[in-house]
Amino acid sequence: MPVIQVHQLSKHFGALKAVNQLSFNVNEGEVFGFLGQNGSGKSTTIRMLLSLIHPTSGHIELFGKPLQSHRTQILEEIGAIIERPDLYPYLTAQEHLQLFAKLRSKKIGKEDIHNTLQKVGLLDRSKDKVQTFSLGMKQRLGIAIALVHNPSLIILDEPTNGLDPQGITDIRTLIQQLAKEEGKTVLVSSHLLSEIEQMATQIMIIHKGEKVAEGPIQKLLDPNKMIVHIKTTNDAHAVQVILSGSFSNYLMQRTDGIYLSIPTYEIPLLNQSLVNAGVGLIGLESRNALEDYFLQVTSNSN
């Protein structure tokens, strides 16, 4: 059963369609990577999942229940951080966890708070006021707040924002742990592919509020399906060569250049046949499908 079911979700701010007709499912135990540039509608979507923003239209179900009618029950099972780690500067890390623990119906003891702080590596700073924290430490505390009540669904919006490389690695490890060892469902958003591809099992890319790609990471990262971008001095000639040869099935219908979806082992052959046919080859870039999607989206927007 999908933990998150989103159907035809839209949010319009006046004329701006921040999210448009977005549908996707997140299954139990998945680490669902939610990719998109800044301003692509990720945060708006996540805020709608958390009922911070009222959708213009569409339907959200979490744990099989409609969000609108079962809001509090659903939120009991969710831990989330949304964008910046905004906290109370005059409270300590421990106080934050104590306060948010109170807001849960589950009994959360001192030990749970201690363990959560340990998990995010803030145990030694637990008695310090947040105003003395670095951005990275605040982000860790934000994650701790999301985890303290041991939710079954964790929604993390740009969790590695502002973290140093070590912090990024730590959070990544933590997310993987939560999914693998504790069986939690994680929805993690980012604008960086490199961050997501190492931890996600499932990926969705949105752009300008619409979904542009979705699938299991293995499929999107399949080495047998590389995307090759060919740059030549004479594109028409090159296309002719490709269409007349055995590569014709691989050619993609794209307007932004010559792209082929091709198994890795055939790339040298393609290169050779183009050279043999006298095509002035400037470059031949190969990348996996996910990277390509992401780059495509990025370049389109520029």
């Binding site: 009922s51 910046r84 306060l99 109170k102 807001l103």
Partner: protein, 291 residues
């Protein structure tokens, strides 16, 4: 809901800003008490100039009860501003800080949050009022002693017996709590409309100052709208200190001249509170949290 109230109170009382109000009230009261202790007689003399032409006033006019009355007159104009400092920040302050989204993703409805926060802000307001009562009444009673309350109003003088005063202060403070809760709820409403701290605080303060001026100006044009302004009613705690007289012009112990006026004001203030809080709930519920 209890959890919301308790964490909101925890946050309020962990904030340095909260204590500004307590400090400000203490400072104001102490300055006035000190001033009246040093030079109270000339102040009393000035007030009683007209009376002293005809009558000799014998006794401790400047006692704790009168000092408290003077303090309340001065402070109940300013305390609303201090209440606004916290109340008008309850929602917008969190929106500004970005913590509102943390709160609104907890398993509580927004209505619960708004009401919980309002109750917490109200508790703060009441605690502030108790602090004010303690300093203005009990500390004044301790410093200046007690005696009959000799009140000089614009058109007449009221002399209330010592034993007949304290319950009036209890009434006045209960009344004042309604006044201040009206300010709290107004601050709350402003707070639900904005995403920054300063706007609602300044907005609430401006509204209070503006309406207070309208309420106090004796201009016929404003007299028409006066009965509808909450600031007009906020001042009616003073009605507790006016006493009925019988046909022999004797003040009757334990009476209030115009109880109906007090009741009307309490009803008007309560309606304001309900209106402002309901509006805050409505606005907050519909709001998209974008901060």
């Amino acid at each position: 809901m209890k959890a919301i109230i308790s964490i909101e109170l925890y946050k309020i009382f962990r904030r340095p800003r909260t204590y500004i109000a307590f400090g400000a009230i203490a400072a104001l009261i102490m300055v006035i008490q000190l001033g009246l202790k040093m030079d109270g007689q000339s102040y009393a003399g000035f007030l009683m100039k007209d009376i002293n032409d005809t009558l000799t006033v014998d006794g401790k006019v400047l006692n704790g009860y009168l000092i408290c009355y003077i303090l309340l007159q001065l402070l109940l104009v300013h305390v609303p501003l201090l209440v606004a400092l916290i109340a008008a920040d309850m929602i917008s302050g969190e929106a500004n800080l970005g913590t509102l989204r943390l709160l609104f993703t907890t398993p509580y409805s927004r209505t619960q949050w708004v009401l919980g926060k309002f109750i917490a802000a109200s508790i703060y307001t009441i605690v502030l009022l108790i602090w004010l009562a303690f300093l203005a009444l009990f500390v004044s009673m301790w410093i200046f002693g007690t005696d009959d309350l000799f009140l000089m109003k614009s058109n007449y003088v009221v002399l209330i017996q010592e034993q007949d005063v304290l319950w009036r202060y209890v009434g006045a403070f209960v009344f004042a709590s309604f006044s201040l809760l009206t300010v709290t709820s107004l601050g709350f409403l402003m707070s639900s409309l904005a995403n920054n701290s300063i706007g609602p605080i300044v907005g609430t303060m401006s509204a209070i100052v503006f309406f207070t001026i309208l309420s106090t100006l004796n201009i016929p044009l404003f007299s028409v709208i006066k009965p509808y302004l909450f600031t007009t009613h906020m001042n009616n705690w003073k009605e507790f200190f006016d006493i009925k007289v019988n046909e022999n012009n004797e003040a009757v112990f334990g009476t209030i001249l115009n109880m109906a006026k007090i009741k009307t004001s309490l009803i008007v203030l309560t309606l304001h509170i309900i209106l402002f809080v309901t509006a805050s709930v409505f606005i907050t519920k519909r709001k998209d949290i974008l901060s």
